[in-house]
């Protein structure tokens, strides 16, 4: 029964991953990250992703602040924050977030305030969605690892 649990979780995890790839939320780069994880660095993916969350939330806060100013003149700074976000998002394979950032950057290049605000809304939404899904993925992974360990108890 326990063994079956681990296998089902494995299926769940792969189903979720497939779904995320299919939806364009994640791309091949995320697989590259997974391939870099092994016994010598067993938590590599979650470590990198957690750094990404930490950095991104700082950037998103800054973007929100800059865009809610009365006089919007900081397009250059917004562009710089976006460049960072684009870089880190593509580095972890967060395709949809990257694309929304690119559209956002285009709006800043045009000094289009309304466009920027819309893009920020979309970005915050996409980011939240990504974060939730990745947390779900890591949870399943953790449960599966636990279940797999129980499945193979130490022999006498």
């Amino acid at each position: 029964m326990l063994g079956l649990g681990a296998d089902l979780l494995w299926v769940d995890m792969n189903r979720l991953l497939s779904f995320l790839f299919h939806q364009g939320v994640l791309d091949e780069q995320f697989l590259q990250l997974q391939q870099l994880q092994d016994e010598t660095s067993p938590n590599f993916v979650s470590e990198v992703v957690n750094i990404y969350f930490h950095e991104s939330e700082k950037l998103l806060r800054n973007l929100r602040e800059l865009l809610t100013e009365k006089e919007l003149s900081e397009y250059k700074r917004i562009g710089m924050h976006l460049n960072q976000l684009i870089g880190s998002s593509s580095s972890i394979g967060a395709k949809r977030v990257t694309n929304v950032c690119l559209a956002f950057r285009a709006a800043t290049d045009q000094n289009n305030r309304a466009g920027c605000l819309r893009a920020l809304e979309m970005l915050e939404h996409e980011y939240c969605y990504l974060k939730n899904k990745l947390h779900e993925l890591f949870q399943i992974e953790q449960q599966r690892a636990l279940a797999a360990r129980v499945r193979y108890p130490v022999q006498n």
Partner: protein, 224 residues
């Protein structure tokens, strides 16, 4: 350090990137490809690590050798991001290629943007490779040829230097230590023309050959 076990030798790569995520990634990529890695977050820190002070324009020939421990670690390749605040990857590349002690170190540039003019500019300035981000494990296969080529060049120069030193020693043994005899012989050869020149060459003395012998000491410190 001997060059004996070339196959299992670990090369040391210095990775430069202002993004913490990209630093983690490149470090992991390099480690899984069996490289020793040091990461820094800026061009100026990279130069510091390489033993070259940023303001070293007045005397570029003599690097500031800092007494830090990492000076013992030879850097076999530098891989740097292009877009960095302050000193860009391009600026760093230039500084390395302008330094007589560092210019042989292969440099690779990484960029998230595919700008042909940027790529050309970097390659013209001496970059050995240009990688588009995100960097893949397969990209790293392109590093070793550059490292090996540089090592081979360094080894050849070392060997030539040694051969030359031995050569000079032997020459000094053949020639009589009596300076007057040498001057006499030289005067003879100048007065008597070709046949005597040939004779003096056979004897091992030849003022012309000495002047025109190529020098292999290019000023690169032979760090072992």
């Amino acid at each position: 350090m001997g060059m004996a076990a070339a196959e299992s030798q670990q090369y040391h790569v210095l990775a430069v990137d202002d993004s913490i995520i990209d630093r983690k990634l490149i470090e992991r990529l390099l480690k899984t490809s069996s490289y020793q890695v040091t990461t820094v977050d800026s061009g100026s820190k990279a130069l510091e690590f390489l033993g070259l002070q940023e303001n070293d324009e007045t005397n570029p020939i003599t690097p500031c050798v800092s007494p830090k421990i990492h000076q013992d670690m030879e850097v076999n390749l530098v891989i740097t991001d292009y877009c960095m605040p302050g000193m860009t990857g391009y600026d760093l590349l230039k500084k390395i290629k302008e330094s007589s002690s560092l210019r042989n170190i292969p440099v690779v540039i990484m960029s998230s943007e595919n700008v042909p003019s940027r790529i050309t500019r970097c390659l013209e300035e001496g970059a050995d490779e240009f990688f588009l981000k995100p960097v893949r494990k397969s990209d790293l296969n392109r590093l070793e040829p550059h490292i090996k080529r540089t090592k081979l060049k360094d080894q050849k120069q070392e060997t030539l230097q040694k051969v030359e030193n031995i050569d000079e020693q032997q020459q000094q043994q053949i020639v009589q230590p009596d300076s007057e005899t040498i001057i006499e012989q030289q005067q003879q050869s100048l007065q008597q023309g070709n046949s005597n020149k040939r004779k003096t060459m056979e004897q091992g003395i030849s003022p012309e050959t000495d002047r025109t012998r190529p020098r292999y000491n290019s000023g690169i410190a032979t760090v072992v």
